[in-house]
């Protein structure tokens, strides 16, 4: 009796859930373009590298903001911790494996940021949104001042010099045109994006969306809300740490700037610009942000923030869901979830 109405509904539901996580061709096209762009526009490799790093950082913020509803103004702390971890490792190894190995640097940066993320998650997850904003901001300020204070380790205001990562996978040397850097960063972004994509479509991911949607009900279903939020906060911290590590390795330096407040704020802006809770919003938002900066500042060096601000206001007020929301509307796709 496989064609009873019940069985038909079961099959329909099964197919529906399967379709949610399916790769669609625009996604494949986007990633193909991301890799191809390095070959097509080698003179833009440094810009592509920057975009990839920014996108990864924004992606990590989208994981907590878009999927778990945790607002943060201090996400840059993890980015900075990752940058210093990778920078110090590369410096310690003096350009030779194993210590200067970039992959090791990424793992170490991710792990360090994750540990700090887990430790601070207990503070961050208390209280309401405003409390969260202030606590995350406060933690970021503390880390910034620590990096400034311990200048014998971090180089203080002069920055960390002599960051010399070894060849990527022992094969590819970082070149001055940034081609290796761009391939390296885009690849890391792609891999971590795929992982994030799996996670947001998993039972764990749907429980986060449920918590964001209605924490009261999630608890009544038996979801350990705090533990789940701590887990995603820790993961997002690791992602941000890896993004920071990419910046340290590909630019061969770390300055106090990695811990500046504007990084956290810019990233929040990028996620909103791209579309919160879409993953792709982080990537598209980062590209749009960087290209807008490049474009506008080629006309007016000083006032680019004016135009950025104007675009942001228009987008937030009149186009719900950022660039991804705009695309969904233009292609006539119902904005889902």
């Amino acid at each position: 009796m496989s064609d009873t109405p019940l069985q038909a509904d079961r099959d329909k539901a099964f197919a529906f859930l399967k379709a949610q996580a399916r790769w669609r061709w625009p996604e494949i096209a986007l990633w193909a373009f991301a890799f191809a762009s390095i070959l097509l526009m080698p003179s833009r490799a440094l810009l592509i590298n920057e975009i990839a790093i920014l996108a990864l950082f924004a992606l990590s913020l989208d994981l907590i903001l878009g999927y778990a509803g945790i607002v943060s103004l201090g996400h840059g702390a993890f980015f900075g911790v990752g940058a210093y971890t990778a920078g110090l490792l590369a410096k310690a190894g003096a350009g030779a494996a194993p210590l200067s190995d970039p992959t090791l640097g990424l793992l170490a940066a991710g792990a360090t940021a994750a540990m700090i993320g887990y430790a601070t998650s207990f503070l961050v997850l208390r209280g309401n949104d405003l409390t969260k904003l202030m606590v995350t901001l406060g933690i970021a300020l503390i880390f910034q001042e620590l990096a400034n204070k311990f200048s014998d380790i971090t180089g203080g205001a002069d920055g960390l010099q002599g960051v010399t990562p070894a060849k990527v996978l022992g094969l590819f040397d970082f070149d001055i045109y940034g081609k290796t850097a761009a391939f390296y960063s885009v690849t890391v972004l792609f891999l971590l994006f795929c992982a994030a994509r799996v996670i947001v479509h998993s039972p764990f991911g749907i429980s986060l969306r449920a918590i964001k949607g209605n924490a009261l009900r999630a608890r009544a279903i038996g979801v350990p809300v705090d533990a789940r939020l701590r887990a995603i906060y820790t993961l997002a911290a690791a992602y941000a740490g890896v993004a920071g590590a990419l910046l340290a390795q590909t630019t061969a330096q770390v300055s106090l700037d990695v811990l500046e407040f504007h990084r956290s704020a810019d990233t929040l802006l990028i996620v909103v610009l791209g579309g919160v809770g879409t993953l792709y919003g982080a990537v598209v938002g980062a590209a749009a942000f960087k290209m807008m900066y490049d474009f506008i500042s080629s006309y007016t060096q000083q006032y680019w923030q004016f135009w950025l601000g104007l675009i942001l206001v228009v987008l937030v007020l009149f186009v719900r869901g950022g660039i991804m929301g705009l695309i969904a509307r233009l292609t006539g796709q119902e904005e889902r979830a």
Binding site: P5, L6, D9, R10, K12, A13, F14, F16, L17, K18, Q20, A21, V198, I199, H201, S202, P203, F204, G205, I206, S207, R209, A210, G213, N214, L216, R217, A218, R219, A220, I221, G222, V223, P224, V225, R228, A231, R336, A337
Partner: protein, 257 residues
Amino acid sequence: MNAILQTKGLMRMFGGLTATNNVTFSLPRGARHALIGPNGAGKTTFVNLLTGVLAPTSGDIFFDGQNVASWPAYRRARAGLARTFQINQLFLDFTPIETLGFALSEARGEGAQFWRRIGTHRGVVDESVDILERLGLGDVLTRRVGLLPYGKQRLLEIAIAVAGKPKALLLDEPAAGVPEGEREQILQVIEGLPAEMALMLIEHDMELVFRFAKSISVLVQGALFAEGEPAEIARDPRVKQVYLGESEVEHHFEARA
């Protein structure tokens, strides 16, 4: 001891106000019990205390033999104490199939799995569909919850709560606000719940109460005021007294007296 859920001297204060006053209460396994009381009697506060949304000021709560008074809400839910809400608490941008699949995954202890997409466990999907069909939601499996008619949303409230096969289910005004034509469906769903599942219905609608309940507790100003079989409660002049002014209810007692 045949009670699934018990309280001893349960108290809850909000500042100087006593919302729950020294309640010692027992819900037998497989019960069909109703908790009634005039507006502001503290019925929902009592449910919130039982389920861990609120912490008691003092007193104990026993569920399935364990003192759960200090347990967080999610642990009580996992132990088999489920509830529905007086005001819909749903995930508006989910679909019913996602909602049920999620609730079932959590009940099976698979909610933290991050390495596989949802819907790969055929058993979970099939069971979700079965429950939804049984509760009259089979035609809206893949519609957004926020777009469902109110009556369907009320049914989904119950579907979520029964997904984990709880030992006790607290139904907080399940038919509240449901248009007359759709009430009957909700009543039938409640009556069709497994006999071994203890049910406590918090309700204002006396027709529903007297049709459903085998026993009734009356809560007045946070304290247990009367307990007994429906016929006794209906005859009790003191109960009638506390409902004075709530004409609809009054009328119901008149009819039964």
